[in-house]
């Protein structure tokens, strides 16, 4: 009987490719963010609304869209004059570093790009374990969900740097308490930067976009 000690991360290969992605992006001056949320929290709407704000700040960006099927989301983004590439994951519930690595040649063909927005598959569990090579993970939750979400899905909140609480226009019509949601998120991750937005009214979008642009430009 042989016992072999291995002692490595199960996702070591994914982490290696993520590190290569991170290096390739940084060499070309592109800052990448990974947007995660439950399905329907408003990831694509947030990107659409950010487009005008980032344009006004002179920040070029491209979007890689992860979905199980179809190219509905990339078509939505393209309507705003933003280059978008759809990755269909088939049955997989998350993007991985390998899939993202295949999109990088396309990203580098786009001119004047400072920011790459990777929209992950709508899922609050699996994306937490897969590093894609991003510099920032942005969690989106909406006022149509429960304000206790951070306590129920701690891994993904703990893996994020920023939290966008979206659909704040709905809050008065639901039992969602924005103050409680903030407290719960900070309990799980005291370092989270929290923003409140409504893609319907446009509230808070400017503040979020200016913060993001600041981080992208400061990081260079």
């Amino acid at each position: 009987m042989h016992e072999i000690l291995i002692e490595e991360k199960i996702l070591a290969r994914n982490d290696e490719i993520a590190a290569q992605n991170r290096k390739a992006l940084s060499e070309r001056g592109v800052y990448a963010i990974n947007i995660v949320s439950a399905p329907g929290a408003g990831k694509t709407s947030l990107i659409e609304k950010m487009a005008a704000e980032l344009k006004a700040l002179g920040m070029g960006f491209a979007v890689v869209e992860g979905d199980l099927e179809g190219d509905l989301d990339s078509k939505r983004i393209e309507r705003h004059g933003i280059p978008a590439l759809q990755i269909t994951t088939g049955r997989a519930c998350h993007l991985d570093a390998h899939q993202v690595s295949h999109s990088l040649p396309w990203v580098f063909e786009q001119s004047g790009i400072e920011l790459l927005v990777i929209e992950n598959v709508g899922n609050m569990v699996c994306p937490a374990e897969y590093d894609l090579g991003e510099e920032m993970t942005v969690m989106v939750m909406s006022a149509a969900e429960g304000d206790d979400k951070p306590l129920k899905y701690p891994a993904i909140f703990s893996a994020s740097e920023a939290l966008v609480i979206n659909k704040t226009d709905l809050a008065p019509h639901t039992d969602f308490d924005i103050g409680k949601a903030r407290l719960n998120a900070l309990k799980v991750n005291p370092n989270l930067k929290i923003f409140e937005t409504s893609c319907r009214t446009g509230a808070g979008i400017g503040e979020w976009a200016r913060y993001l642009a600041g981080v992208v430009r400061h990081d260079k």
Binding site: M1, H2, I4, I6, E8, I10, L11, D96, L151, P154
Partner: protein, 113 residues
């Protein structure tokens, strides 16, 4: 459900190690799944059993260590068992506490002949 893709990645590592060490029959694989990971040990066990059927890994057992969540105090250095929602060091009372364990997702070792 990403437990399936994690199982596939795990078995690929096992296959490479078996080849290197010239092992023909796998007896067991030991892994570590921390409390804070987004991975469910029972789902992983189910995927492992389903994946090894009819392969050279059939009959091998999956042993899972489940390390609990630990906090590490940035002020006094104490490492202590904690919950995600408790951020105070029991040693010095400071609240600058970082996660010091419980996020492991590792392959530890394997046995075979």
């Amino acid at each position: 459900m990403h437990e399936m893709s994690i199982t596939r990645t795990l078995l690929e590592t096992v296959r490479q190690e078996m080849e290197k060490a010239d092992i023909k029959t796998l007896r067991s694989v030991r892994i570590r799944v921390g409390e804070l990971t987004a991975v469910e040990p029972e789902a992983l066990r189910f995927c492992f059993e389903a994946s090894v059927k009819g392969t050279p890994f059939e009959g091998a057992s999956l042993e899972i260590e489940e390390p609990p969540l630990k906090g590490g105090c940035l002020t006094c250095g104490l490492v202590f068992g904690t919950t995600l929602f408790e951020r105070t060091c029991p040693g010095c009372g400071d609240s600058s506490v970082e996660i010091a364990g419980g996020n492991e997702l590792d392959i530890v070792s394997m046995e075979g002949v």
